[in-house]
Symmetry: C2
Subunit: 260 residues, 2 copies
């Protein structure tokens, strides 16, 4: 199953994504894109493709570490390296003092504050998009999208999603094809919303497991029973992923309207 | 045409909206809703309906004036009056110092900063929603929704939209039925994103005009030629509204994914 998932035609896939990026920017008569570059895998892959699609001068990266989190600054250095390698413009904005001011006099809570930082980053991306008539390019992958592992109107808030039909394992493969630095490819996935925040740890499953379950569910259209007999995985893990997909449906839709 | 638009069955419409609010809160097993109460018509009507639907103890209002805008503080006083009348909990949060900190060292631009304040308000609503397991109830009406007169992922960012199938003129009628204070009903519509910001002034059309054009376009399914012959309005105004609907389509959809 793993082999089947990662067996993608890299050239075909990256050409299609680049065409898509070009088309979206043209359709909107935009001057280019703004991207939130975190130093992680997804945003780096998206940035490489955007640069190849529309040229480095049309890609503006915002690097938005939270200086109160130690891993975040380390990531920001990687992001800066990527931006320099690609010769794109970038701005570094520490969100820590902004978050502190927003949270002043409010009750403190870790997860709520984490989601707030994702929404602040989205707001800054749109601020720069507004200033220069650019689109905000989203960087989420299909695995995160399906299990709802993103902040609604935070990192989920963008104008278009070029790599959201690629599972995390496929993004890793594409990254190798694009010659993205090994350090980025090997880094463990993290939204960095708080200290030592790590995706697989928080979810409680490896992406190898998540992607196999999702692949059976979505691409093979299997029901729970079929997935359980196909995959050699703890049944509770399979139930968990299926439940995450179902519970996060509202994040993949526009808000429901009361039709009169 | 105006008579036809405002001829709604108030009791039936409000009952249906209240059922919808109740259903959404129950489905999500949420403890209630958080609403951004501006002191304007739409959020007041939504707040009245929410209170009647789920009871005052399940409605939390955030009143979020920008103290740098003089009209905003006046509105906040009205919002406070509404919250007290309805006996719902509310918190007043001045967004001015938060906006200033976010904008520190960034290039200044009025419209971008206006959109930023809408996104900051959304972020604060979700912060409180996260803290207390509530849903964010959206307050946009159908006229704004169709012409795209809202900030993407700002006031447009909510979990469900109870009055988004009611045109502005219909919301005004419903407000009378709900015995909402005259002052709120008569107030000119405004997103209050900057000083002296006024909806009809910014759009360049009265809601009486906008709603008639939209009603012909959406409810009567008329084409541009038919609308022009039906309505006794300047053709350029009709073209403008139609163009606003078309150009804002991306705001009413989830971001497009590159399908591979």
């Amino acid at each position: 199953m793993l082999n089947e998932i990662v067996d993608i035609n890299h050239k075909k896939v990256s050409d299609k994504i680049k065409d898509f990026i070009r088309k979206k920017v043209e359709e909107a008569s935009a001057n280019g894109v703004v991207i939130g570059l975190s130093g992680g895998l997804d945003s780096t892959v998206t940035c490489y493709l955007a640069k190849e699609a529309i040229g480095p001068e049309k890609v503006l990266a915002l690097i938005m570490p939270n200086s109160n989190l130690k891993d975040s600054l380390e990531d920001a250095k990687d992001a800066e390296m990527i931006a320099k390698d690609l010769r794109i413009s970038y701005k570094k904005i520490d969100i820590a003092p902004k978050l502190e001011e927003i949270l002043k006099d409010l009750p403190k809570e870790k997860v709520a504050a984490g989601n707030l930082s994702a929404r602040l980053r989205m707001s800054l991306l749109y601020y720069y998009a507004n200033l220069s008539n650019r689109l905000v390019i989203g960087t989420g992958d299909k695995s995160e999208f399906l299990i709802g592992y993103f902040t609604k109107y935070g990192d989920g808030g963008a104008d278009f999603l070029p790599i959201a039909d690629l599972y995390k394992l496929q993004v890793r493969e594409l990254a190798k094809y694009l010659s993205i630095p090994q350090k980025i490819i090997q880094k463990s996935s993290s939204p960095r919303l708080w200290d030592e925040h790590e995706a697989e740890g928080e979810i409680g499953l490896k992406y190898e497991e998540i992607d196999q379950i999702l692949y059976c569910m979505i691409e093979k259209n299997m029901n729970t029973k079929e997935i359980k007999s196909k995959l050699n995985l703890d049944e509770r893990r399979i139930d968990k992923v299926i439940s995450m997909v179902e519970k996060s449906e509202h994040k993949r839709r526009i808000p429901e309207i009361c039709i009169l």
